[in-house]
Symmetry: C2
Subunit: 307 residues, 2 copies
């Protein structure tokens, strides 16, 4: 297996792209791909103030490394969810993120759920019905709210996350099985800014998990390898396994599935929910001020109200 | 495991419906379900002249038996495709169909590809590029054409086929992975009549393959158990296996997937291709007269033209 660019020994063979590359050319190729996707989906520009949500996992750190290398103005944010579960999950993640930021001389913001909102994610999960039933759902809600608030307070133009193709394809498959039009209409890799909501983008939307992992390892970026202990049985992991089988049988399946879906979106198959901007402004949570369609407290503030 | 209706020993447990039934109540229940679906999707009425496409397999024979039992006016049609492959596939299928028709005193029409069109399916497949690459695709095309022609010649109101939920869900999954809007817009269990095309309906669209098999066995209907030897590696069987795994993990997955999709269709997610009726009449195949959008010979007649 030889590198297609220089003929040296390849370190990775990407069957889905019919492309093998050596370490040097792979480390060049991935950022080029990411830049191409940022432009293609009009995610952000070099003038934008970008908030990178980092977890300490391979995807978000690789993304931050690449955006910084490409010359984007980035700051990192880490939310300490207070997850221990016998493996010091959050603490180790935070230390990994802090050390990455220090080594690369990049600004990092730390938000501690316990200090800022008085409760860790496991505490919220134990206390609430929704949390006991579906811990990932509560955690996602909390993270979205906290990130959005932080980006608004800091006047960031865009929040970027490290969701890779495997993540996007798995969520898409789950939403497709349910044919949930609301979610299917919102699967685009950029969600535009709206009053009270910062723009969101996923520059790794077309990067396979395996590609992102290879990049992180070849770049010698230290990352937390373990999955969140709460997500072990999650729906997303279930669908990822199905897609992995499929990908094994037919390389390129995940990418094809995702790209054809984006094309379908462009063709107007799932009318995108266009909330009226004025309505959003009119419906603010009386507690935090973020837009909501609940008619009262937003879903985030509701969690803390019932304490 | 007890029958929910009478408390006797159950012969089948349908986890997806949370329902166990004894033989007697199961044989009552399935036709009731089919009748409900015929009405719900407005497939046909008791006045319609119905052509049942039978293959000798469990689904089409169970369907014919049920429609007849419900009091519909049915005639069967069997296409002898001339498939042997060392197991006398077509011959055995034909004998099974003929004996079923005779035992139930139902009219059966036999169409022999070799006699009527000069070639069997294996012969066509060997001669044509498309047939060598994808034998099921050619066979499907041929069957659709021949059935449609026969139904037009005999003034039938509707053609019904034994496609079950497993078939429909597998095709849907394949089309979804490709996000092929053309096919996704045509997945409804009834295709209305159009100039040159007889209405088509799938009364078993919500009946699991396993339910249909159980019905056939309990009714002591003799059927051909083997799959068509050409279809062994087909795409459809691949997707069926994936769905079976899924169904094992989460009973009801296939039904949920299919029903949510139908709801999506109703909500107009995939605009249904509404060809202009006059255009269809204007575009007739110069050889057979069936509507076509090729601008010349229809796809069926093209197969025989290149001989």
């Amino acid at each position: 297996m030889r590198c297609r660019k220089c003929g040296e020994k390849a370190v990775i063979n990407m069957r889905q792209h019919r492309l093998s590359l050596c370490a040097e050319h792979y480390l060049e190729w991935i950022p080029q791909q990411v830049q191409r996707h940022i432009e293609k989906y009009e995610m952000f520009s070099f003038d934008d103030k970008i908030l990178v949500a980092v977890s300490g996992g391979k995807d978000s750190l690789a993304l931050w490394n690449i955006l910084n290398g490409l010359g984007y103005k980035t700051e990192g944010v880490y939310i300490d969810l207070g997850i221990d579960e016998g493996i010091d999950y959050s603490r180790n993640s935070r230390l990994t993120v802090e050390s990455f930021a220090e080594n690369n001389q990049l600004p990092i913001h730390l938000i501690n759920m316990q200090k800022k909102h008085g409760e860790t994610i496991p505490e919220i999960n134990q206390r609430t019905h929704r949390g006991r039933r579906n811990p990932c759902s509560v955690c996602g809600l909390v993270k979205r709210h906290v990130l959005n608030q932080f980006s608004l307070d800091g006047s960031f133009d865009v929040i970027v996350t490290g969701h890779n193709l495997d993540d996007e394809a798995a969520i898409l498959l789950a939403n497709t099985l349910d044919w949930s039009l609301e979610f299917l209409s919102r699967g685009y890799p950029v969600l535009p800014a709206k009053p009270g909501f910062t723009r969101k983008a996923k520059p790794f939307c077309r990067i396979y998990e395996r590609e992102s992992a290879a990049y992180t390892i070849l770049r010698k970026i230290n990352f937390i390898n373990s999955e969140c202990p709460f997500s072990i049985d999650s729906k997303q992991i279930y669908y990822k396994e199905i897609l992995n089988q499929w990908e094994d049988d037919k390389p390129g399946t995940k990418l094809r599935f995702y790209l054809h879906y984006l094309k379908t979106l462009d063709q107007g198959a799932f009318p995108r929910g266009q909330e009226n901007d004025q309505e959003l402004i009119d419906q603010q949570c009386p507690n935090c001020g973020q837009p909501t369609n609940t008619g009262g407290l937003c879903a985030f503030c509701q969690i803390f109200e019932v304490k």
